[in-house]
């Protein structure tokens, strides 16, 4: 590897590339593009958006250039007819390998200098934010493209088989499952999406698939372009001679020209499709500057009066602000959705995007409180478009109000980033976790029935103490049975079924707190989302309609929303796929494994979960007619648990439940209740 031959060939290839005018032209062009894009970014959130699009475009561009440069180098070699000589030399693998690495190093010239130029010129924090991913993706992309092109050209010349080889190998590469999170879209769909990716909402790509699978998507996209380039080469191919690089010189140029046009066009479409987003993005300016306001002030009480007219929301808020820091506070930041305009306030307020800066007239001493009165109004409607499906994370229309806690519809302390452009963990950052002593929400608008996670204490009044989150839903189509600790929001289309689901959930919920006594009930969501424990027992296999579960609890509340689109929009019952989409995307955001419940999971572990479900369900229904349920019809594991419960009581069951997750799949594959029981007893 470090032999003389290796280095000789490596440096020769590098030298050959560096003496190519094409290389310098492409690099200069790309540097100009990178610098102009990065320099045109205004506001840090705009940067995030642009960075995303830039990353996408850049991957495509660099891949095309890599393929083209590799072919061009081969073609120059051909033009100078050097290969005629070299091929007869007694060279082995290390020489072409050195040539490949030289070529790769050369292609990295497309990546590093433009980046260095951009980073030297501008403070691009968000650009740096994803730099590691970017570099990794690019490196993989470049290595792969040049390897394939290089190898195919060297091995097969310009034969159709090279094309299919590149295609086939690339497909395989692109479809390698994401090790971090499964791509929850089927294989052909991914292909389609990636091909249509131009003009598509890149937030969504990121949001749904996460960083790594995004890399796979990139790869698909690159494949598309490499495919175009390579097929062009074949279209123009006139003569083929094995072990010679046929006709690349002219075709290389054509390929490059088309690649450039397509890429610049794609970049243009991207940037254009951002105009709307950019307006929103500007509103988020400064969003990344986490001010840690929570450390300085907190809002201890909320009194909100809510009214909506058509699409307009009118809210008057009275809040008690307390200085929780050690020093005096004369101004602080609040977050409020950027389309909600402040019409009246008892302190001067400056607005920038989501962020309100409140200036007090006198510094607030540590521990002191002040009352902030704020009136704000405006539309609140946020859409995300995904091919074939619309996602509308929050909205207010004349027919429906859907204001989950993350809609920023009430002021919270500090600045929040609500950019879906970054990974999920950021998008669902600790938005609105209020330690409010009380939250009173009065609805002045009688036209719609409303539901909230806050208990309804009076007609049109929701009130809770020690509140961490507040969601508000309103719809004519909605029913909201609130029983004990669970509030259910769902469509009346599913009334019967939802009531049944609610019953199940409540039973499970109670059963949970019983069998995991050390887990406080109000943190049951955290428990639910933890795959390692028996979180997914909450998935009731029969209730395929659970679309949206697990809004964070308030006090001892679990808010359960089934079929939110259906319940809250006037679009009529949504299609299965839309509901599925919402379910998948929300669950992927929340990190939950709902898909295990939605799709028949044949694995033994899944069966075990069902068995535990059945057991919990059965024990939660001891009093009623359910007691008459045929125990023998239960899964063997559930039967064993029931027997154990009779023998050893809840303590025994808790001990066993804690040990179950560590058992192997083979353990769960057994259908012998007696064997299970023996194991449980013996333990």
């Amino acid at each position: 590897m470090t032999s003389r031959r290796f280095w000789k060939r490596f440096s020769l290839e590098l030298r050959f590339g560096l003496t190519s005018k094409l290389f310098w032209v492409v690099m200069a062009l790309w540097t100009v593009m990178v610098v102009s894009v990065t320099q045109s970014m205004q506001g840090i959130t705009a940067e995030i958006y642009l960075t995303q699009s830039f990353y996408l475009t850049s991957t495509v561009f660099i891949s095309i250039c890599t393929a083209t440069l590799t072919l061009m180098n081969a073609s120059r070699s051909r033009r100078h007819n050097f290969l005629a000589l070299e091929l007869s030399l007694p060279i082995d693998f290390e020489v072409p390998f050195a040539q490949y690495l030289g070529n790769l190093t050369l292609n990295l010239g497309l990546l590093i200098p433009p980046l260095v130029a951009a980073l030297t010129l501008g403070p691009l924090r968000s650009f740096l934010y994803g730099l590691d991913t970017y570099l990794a993706t690019q490196l993989i992309s470049i290595s792969f493209v040049s390897l394939l092109t290089f190898w195919a050209a060297r091995r097969f010349g310009a034969r159709p088989v090279s094309f299919f080889l590149i295609f086939g190998i690339w497909m395989f590469f692109a479809s390698i499952p994401n090790p971090l999170r499964p791509i929850n879209t089927s294989f052909p769909a991914v292909t389609l999406l990636s091909i249509l990716r131009v003009g598509m909402d890149p937030f969504w790509v990121n949001d749904l698939f996460g960083k790594v699978s995004q890399g796979a998507l990139y790869t698909w996209f690159d494949l598309f372009y490499v495919g175009v380039t390579v097929s062009l080469i074949f279209l123009w191919r006139q003569r083929y001679s094995r072990s010679q690089f046929g006709v690349f010189s002219r075709l290389g140029w054509v390929g490059l020209g088309i690649g450039l046009i397509v890429t610049v066009g794609a970049a243009g479409i991207y940037l254009n499709s951002f105009t709307a987003h950019l307006q929103a993005a500007d509103a988020y300016a400064g969003a990344l500057t986490t001010a840690n306001e929570e450390d300085r002030v907190s809002i201890s009480t909320y009194d909100l009066a809510y009214r909506s007219e058509g699409e307009q929301v009118f809210i008057t808020a009275e809040m008690t602000i307390q200085n929780v820091s050690q020093g005096a506070v004369d101004q602080f930041l609040l977050t409020l959705f950027h389309t909600l305009a402040v019409t009246d306030a008892n302190y001067p307020i400056e607005r920038e995007g989501h962020t309100l800066t409140v200036r007090l007239d006198a510094p607030l001493a540590p521990g002191d409180r002040v009352t902030l009165r704020l009136s704000y109004e405006g539309p609140l409607d946020y859409w995300e478009t995904v091919i074939g499906t619309v996602r509308r994370p929050y909205f207010v229309t004349s027919d429906a109000v859907y204001l989950p806690y993350y809609a920023m519809w009430y002021p919270t302390v500090g600045t929040r980033m609500q950019a879906h452009a970054l990974s999920d963990s950021y998008a669902t950052a600790p938005i609105a976790s209020l330690p409010a002593q009380h939250f009173r929400l009065q609805i002045l608008d009688g036209s719609l029935p409303f539901a909230s996670n806050l208990p309804q204490t009076d007609a049109g009044v929701f009130y809770g103490e020690n509140v961490t989150w507040v969601s508000l839903f309103g719809s004519q189509r909605m029913i909201s049975p609130a029983q004990a600790e669970v509030t259910l929001v769902t469509s009346n289309v599913y009334e019967q079924k939802s009531a049944g689901d609610l019953n199940d959930i409540q039973a499970l919920h109670r059963a949970y707190s019983r069998y995991f006594p050390e887990v406080p009930v109000d943190s049951v969501t955290a428990l639910m989302f933890d795959e390692a424990d028996m979180a997914s027992t909450l998935c009731v296999p029969e209730s395929g309609s659970i679309a949206f579960l697990g809004l964070p609890p308030v006090q001892n509340q679990v808010l359960l929303v089934l079929n939110p689109l259906d319940a809250l929009t006037d679009a009529g019952p949504v299609t299965e796929s839309a509901a599925q989409f919402v379910a998948d995307s929300y669950w992927s955001q929340l990190g939950g494994p709902l898909e295990d419940c939605q799709y028949e999971d044949p694995t033994a572990r899944m069966e075990a979960r069902r068995a535990i479900n059945a057991f919990l369900w059965r024990t939660a229904h001891t009093d009623e007619a359910d007691a008459a349920l045929d125990e023998a019809a239960l899964p063997p594991l559930a039967q064993a648990l029931l027997t154990l419960q009779r023998e050893q009581g809840d303590a025994g069951v808790i001990r066993v439940l804690e040990q179950l997750p560590q058992q192997s799949d083979a353990f769960f594959a057994s259908d012998d209740a007696a064997a299970y029981l023996e194991w449980m007893r013996g333990d």
């Binding site: 020769l12 003496t19 033009r79 007869s88 030399l89 007694p90 060279i91």
Partner: protein, 298 residues
């Protein structure tokens, strides 16, 4: 040190570049003669392991070429007909690169390169970039690279193309010297090149082997078919119909011709001693000589 070519055929689309060629090449210079498109380069590229062939077999120094191309390459010096160098390397760097690829030991390489540059008369321009070289200089550099590593088998495809007469003579002498202890396969369509250095020849035409063996044998077989005659210019066409004209020169209204003919073409035609050139042209013009490989080999 031998090359055995057995019934090798190669087809490019509709063109039968080589048609069932069988050849045995041993130590010394072997000349491959043939007009343009005869298949010389194709055969040499096959021997240099660059072109796969359709059928037949090639054994070089006991190694089957198709199965052990690497082994064959190790003992091979090859000068392609069309080749090029990286234009930004100097003559010295080029040889250094190729010598390294040929695994010439580093401690020997520098001296070898100097000697070879001397041999091909390029010492003065060793530090100049190849892109500034004339065609002849490139050709000489090509010869030098083929000789790097002291190969046992030297395959040179039209090596004298583009060389001036002085260089051409120098090169012939060089090949003669080299052939004393190795196999040299030389292709050309310049008969004089071969005549001067090689006694073993093969003639290819349209992919078929017309003749292979000692050139003396070939000359013997052509004995009695070469004539010189002088006729009035007006009779040119008649003679052309009856014979194959090898050369002609006019003086006044008369024209003197060297022709190939199975019988005495005119009563005053004088029989001539055949030269290789005559035979070569006969082949090119499809003049049937009663020679066969067996006859020639005798």
């Amino acid at each position: 040190m031998s090359i055995e070519v057995t019934q090798v055929s190669k087809r490019y689309g509709k063109v039968q570049a080589l048609d069932n060629v069988t050849l045995s090449i041993n130590k010394g210079i072997f000349g491959l003669l043939g007009p343009n498109g005869a298949g010389k380069t194709t055969l040499m590229r096959i021997l240099a392991t660059l072109t796969p062939f359709d059928s037949g077999s090639v054994v070089v120094n006991g190694h089957d070429l198709q199965r052990f191309p690497g082994k064959v390459r190790q003992s091979l010096g090859y000068l392609p007909q069309d080749f090029g160098f990286y234009p930004d390397l100097t003559a010295y760097q080029t040889l250094d690169y190729i010598g390294t690829m040929k695994n010439v030991p580093p401690q020997r390489l520098q001296a070898d390169i100097q000697a070879l540059l001397e041999l091909v008369n390029l010492s003065d321009v060793a530090r100049r970039k190849v892109k500034g070289f004339s065609g002849g200089m490139r050709q000489r550099l090509g010869i030098a690279q083929a000789l790097l590593g002291d190969p046992q088998v030297l395959i040179v495809d039209e090596p004298t193309a583009g060389l001036d007469p002085e260089e051409r003579v120098r090169f012939r002498n060089l090949l003669s010297r080299l052939s004393s202890d190795r196999t040299v396969l030389l292709s050309t369509h310049i008969v004089g090149d071969i005549e001067a250095v090689s006694t073993n020849i093969a003639i290819l035409n349209k992919g078929r082997l017309i003749f292979a063996g000692q050139s003396s044998g070939l000359l013997d077989q052509a004995q009695g078919y070469v004539w010189e005659l002088t006729v009035p210019q007006s009779e040119w066409e008649k003679i052309e119909r009856q014979t194959t004209i090898v050369s002609s020169r006019t003086h006044g209204s008369q024209i003197t011709m060297r022709v190939l003919a199975h019988q005495q073409p005119t009563p005053d035609a004088q029989p001539e001693t055949p030269t290789l050139e005559d035979i070569y042209l006969a082949v090119v013009h499809d003049f049937i000589l009663p020679v066969s490989e067996e006859a020639a080999a005798k």
